[in-house]
Amino acid sequence: MRPGIGDLTEPRQPKGTEPSEAELIERAKLGDAEAFQGLYDKHKRRVYSLCLRMTANTAEAEDLAQEAFLQLYRKIATFRGESAFSTWLHRLSVNVVLMHLRKKSLPVVSLEETTQGTEEDSPKRDFGADDVALAGSIDRMQLQRAVESLPPGYRMIFVLHDIEGYEHNEIAKIAGCSIGNSKSQLHKARMKLRDLLKMNRAEEAGKTRAG
């Protein structure tokens, strides 16, 4: 089962070897440096991976992860525990990334969605005919590279839905688009990824034959 957005923490250590998250939060509210670091260690991979997937840039992802944690720590005194801490942090991280993308004037949702679709996006009749098949499993690194190659709008929807587990209604709220738009973008993102992965496999097959 894939983890949803309510389960965002790093794999847990055996009980008794480290303080609970609630304890870390209370200590962080008092300015305890170790508690801040403990919370960071628990969530850093998830937050950084999210930033990296959405920006496809290591330096930007590090800056954004840093900004997300700083915003979190500045507000931690107001955390009352009504919602899961990880959900709070995750939503905050998404907002930090979206603000960054907007500042860079990158479309959070592709503008082409406002039209009826372009020729490129129209369904193709010949799909799967002479293509390389994506049989078996998909290599994680290849998929990662393909996700990085997606246009920013497609990439954001794909990351939020298929990687991070957000629902379309949540994405629509976050990105400020319609639910239908989110669904349509996701489908196009997956189709684009399929093309990219196939091209990659075809290139590799060509190299093997040449070698």
């Binding site: 894939r2 983890p3 965002l8 790093e10 008092l30 300015g31 305890d32 440096a33 801040f36 670091q37 960071y40 850093k44 991979r45 998830r46 950084y48 991976s49 990296l52 997937r53 992802a61 590090e62 992860a65 840093q66 944690f69 700083l70 720590y73 500045r74 369904p123 193709k124 009749r125 799909f127 799967g128 005919a129 098949a133 994506l134 499993s137 998909i138 994680r140 998929l143 990662q144 996700v147 794909f158 298929d162 990687i163 991070e164 587990g165 669904k183 349509s184 996701l186 489908h187 196009k188 997956r190 189709m191 990824l193 399929r194 992965l197």
Partner: protein, 203 residues
């Protein structure tokens, strides 16, 4: 439903499980392969979650900012243990930094404006004398947290640069309040850097 309609319908029913979709998929190997491949992509996507580790630079910068903003408060043990190598000298490094800072504050706040130029020039060797302790700081980092060496070296370089720049402005315009404040900030940052290194080295 034809192939084009099926592909369009996948945006709404992603896994091809509606009655119409299933009817088409049974009769069309190409569309069936398409749906299988999209499902493979969705399954593989979950593995990308939380897969990457940020560099140590990220936490170091966060910690630095938290200390600057006063969100982290020092919580020292009452009786700290000392390493055999450093002994009591372990405390001299942050103390020297704090003394330097206190001296800087005293000199700049208490002096008359027309004496600033002379005192500012005296402060140059003070800043340089603090450089003598930079090696101690780096040694401490190397001993206790070698992974942070590069980041500390960079922070130290930046803060020394800030001190030099601010000192230069103060030398040129001794009555410039902003310049004096910048110099104090730079000294405070350096003091904080020493403090961070010493906190890390405590057991």
């Amino acid at each position: 439903m034809n192939c084009v309609e099926l592909q369009q319908s996948l945006a709404e029913v992603e896994d091809g499980s509606s009655l119409e979709q299933r009817a088409h998929l049974r009769a069309c190997p190409a569309c069936s392969a398409l749906v299988n491949e999209l499902n493979l992509i969705v399954a593989a996507a979950g593995e990308l979650q939380a897969a990457e580790e940020p560099s140590p630079r990220v936490w170091n910068s966060i910690e630095f900012a938290l200390r600057q903003e006063g969100l982290i408060r020092p919580q020292r043990p009452l009786v700290p243990s000392f390493s055999a190598r450093w002994g009591a000298a372990r405390w001299l490094v942050p103390m020297a930094a704090m003394l330097l800072l206190a001296l800087g504050i005293y000199v700049r706040r208490e002096s008359l404006p027309n004496q600033m130029a002379q005192q500012a020039s005296v402060a140059v060797p003070a800043a340089n004398s603090s450089d003598l302790n930079d090696a101690d700081l780096m040694q401490e980092v190397v001993d206790n947290e070698p992974a942070m060496k590069t980041q500390y070296a960079e922070n130290l370089r930046q803060v020394n640069e800030s001190i030099r720049d601010a000192q230069g402005v103060v030398d040129e315009s001794p009555n410039d309040e902003d310049a004096r404040r910048s110099l104090m900030d730079a000294y405070q940052q350096k003091s904080m850097l020493f403090q961070m290194a010493m906190d890390r080295s405590l057991p």
